[in-house]
């Protein structure tokens, strides 16, 4: 499939797209709120994957490579529309919730709803650090913020998520 894509074979490209688009769309949706924008980002990301596939060295997971491209694409979109230094905590008066039990499962729309409720800066840092495994230094470079901002936004993001989980009374969670 990858060889076919390198040769520009449209069937292989379609196969690649159909195999990976649901997973990568899931990644993009965590960053970009509106489904329409998320789809634009996904298309742009796939366009880069397919036109730059020669740059994929073959070492490391192909999925990981594509995922990184998607994340970069999502960050580019966010940078265009947001200033990460300006993101502020609006409501910090909510009580801290009790322990979150990891056994609990969150439905897809619940996860998205929770992430969507975070300010863009929190959400992006949380996504990058927790779900993509970036270091604070990398996040700071990517978003053009200081390492300390990245750290504090992660803490605030976790705090807000706990509040939201408790506030929304997810059964058994919080």
């Amino acid at each position: 499939m990858i060889q076919g894509c390198k040769a520009g074979d449209r069937k292989a490209q379609k196969l690649l797209y159909e195999s990976y688009s649901p997973k990568l769309f899931g990644v993009v949706k965590r960053y970009v709120k509106s489904p329409e924008d998320a789809e634009d980002v996904l298309i742009e990301g796939f366009f880069k994957v397919m036109t730059k596939i020669d740059l994929y060295s073959g070492s490391g997971s192909f999925m990981g490579w594509m995922r990184r491209i998607m994340v970069n694409e999502a960050l580019m979109f966010l940078r265009k529309n947001n200033n990460f230094n300006m993101t502020v905590e609006i409501n910090n008066n909510l009580h801290m919730p009790t322990k979150v039990t990891v056994e609990d499962q969150l439905a897809a729309d619940a996860i998205l709803a929770l992430l969507d409720k975070l300010p863009v800066g929190y959400r992006t840092v949380f996504n990058l650090y927790v779900l993509e495994g970036y270091k604070h230094r990398e996040i700071a470079e990517e978003l053009g913020i200081s390492i300390n901002t990245s750290k504090s936004q992660l803490i605030l993001a976790r705090k807000r998520l706990r509040e939201l989980i408790q506030f929304q009374e997810f059964p058994g969670v919080g």
Binding site: P22, V100, D104
Partner: protein, 411 residues
């Protein structure tokens, strides 16, 4: 309260796969378009000198083609009177009425034996052979077929390039229906072009949308003084001379075309359809649209917990002389072609046979706003597990057959 970040992190890590969702079907089309544009742009920019070489080569080719055309076109433009006579003779009816083929430009019926002539030349008509045994049986059983008179009309198309529906010969509403084999002539003013057209020919695909909207009008008897538009519509779909042409567009209707069935017979399916659950909530819906003259494309979506996902791409497609229902029936995305086996006013049966095992997709239309698709295996064989699992999502399924009933979504 936990100060450890791991809990909340782990909750999201463990559940992130739940966000996986296929993007909309339009997304691939957009990407496909971008990739095509990119490829063209890359070819253009690889070597700037190539542009000039390309232009030079193009000019040389153009010159060559132009000179060839000049030589080959000349005889056609100056067709002798004898030739005109000979071609006209070929258009004369020579056998009994029922044997006359449906005449239509080749582009509407690929694979038929009709050749479309150039301007200044002639359209040659050949006797068509009925190939599909089942369909020809159905023809023989159809009372409409037995009584169908045939009309061949010669007329001159308008000066515009497009062969629009207005070109079909109009018969005044109050005139007597012409006898079978009657040849109608339209005065020719300049450089006559003879086009053979059977008045029973289905209206071209590109007027469907209008006609679907106007179905009621089209099916009514002509009013005393029809407006110009109504009159034109009438000539498209129901010329008074041929009562058998008076087709109810919202029914599955078999029209005795020897070039095989047409996707026109499925135009009623164009639109949005849905299935609803016990509480009236939408479980799945289908959208059918006209893709081109030979294809009606359907997309099935499933809605679970407010999340919409693409489940099935379907096509009703004319390939050669046959009509096919193409779909993947087990969610594997490996399309299977079901060939139209028989069709009546309310039921169409498509069949797919592999090593003596046949599977059928049956489309039944109960009213104009309801239809049911049934997937079943012939005789004793059962549906396999993947098929049952896939179709279970779509609606009622038993071991032998999967049934899905849809209702038209009113706009």
């Amino acid at each position: 309260m936990s100060d450890k970040p791991d809990n909340i992190d782990e909750l999201f890590r463990a559940n992130q796969h739940r966000l996986e969702q296929a993007p909309s079907p339009q997304a691939w089309k957009r990407l496909d378009r971008r990739l095509s544009e990119h490829r063209q742009a890359r070819v253009r920019t690889i070597n700037p000198w190539r542009n000039w070489l390309g232009i030079a080569a193009g000019l040389a080719l153009l010159l060559g083609v132009a000179s060839v055309l000049l030589f080959t076109q000349a005889p056609g433009e100056t067709m002798t009177a004898e030739a005109v006579e000979r071609y006209s003779e070929e258009l004369q009816p020579t056998s009994t009425a029922a044997n006359y083929p449906v005449l239509s430009p080749e582009r509407d019926y690929p694979g038929s034996d009709i050749r479309e002539g150039n301007r200044g030349k002639r359209l040659q008509v050949q006797q068509l052979q009925a190939t599909n045994t089942d369909l020809s049986m159905a023809e023989a059983q159809s009372p409409r077929f037995n009584s169908a008179p045939t009309e061949i009309a010669e007329f001159k198309p308008s000066n515009t390039e497009a062969e629009t529906v207005e070109e079909i010969v109009e018969t005044p509403p109050n005139s007597e229906p012409p006898a079978a084999q009657e040849v109608e002539e339209i005065p020719v003013t300049e450089d006559p072009v003879i086009v053979a057209e059977d008045a029973r020919t289905e209206p071209p695909a590109y007027v469907w949308k209008e006609e679907v909207a106007k179905t009621e009008t089209a099916n009514q008897e002509p009013a005393a003084g029809p407006s110009a538009k109504a009159k034109r519509l009438e000539s498209n779909s129901a010329p008074t001379a041929i009562p058998e042409y008076n087709v109810t567009l919202n029914q599955l209707e078999y029209i005795t075309e020897q070039s095989g069935p047409s996707i026109d017979q499925f135009q009623w399916i164009i639109g949005q359809w849905s299935t609803t659950g016990q509480n009236g909530e939408t479980i799945s819906f289908e959208e059918w649209e006209l893709e081109d003259k030979f294809t009606i494309r359907g997309t099935g979506y499933l809605r679970i917990n407010g999340q919409q996902s693409l489940v099935e791409q379907m096509e009703i497609k004319k390939i050669g002389k046959d009509l096919y229902f193409i779909t993947a029936i087990d969610g594997s995305e490996q399309p299977i072609s079901f060939k139209l086996k028989s069709i009546t006013s309310t039921e169409a049966i498509f069949e797919h046979t592999i090593s003596n095992q046949s599977q059928q997709i049956i489309i039944q239309q109960s009213t104009r706003d309801n239809f049911t698709t049934i997937l079943q295996n012939e005789a004793q064989s059962n549906l396999n597990n993947e098929e049952i699992e896939f179709l279970r999502q779509r609606n009622a399924t038993s071991e032998e057959r999967a049934v899905r009933s849809l209702k038209r979504v009113q706009n």
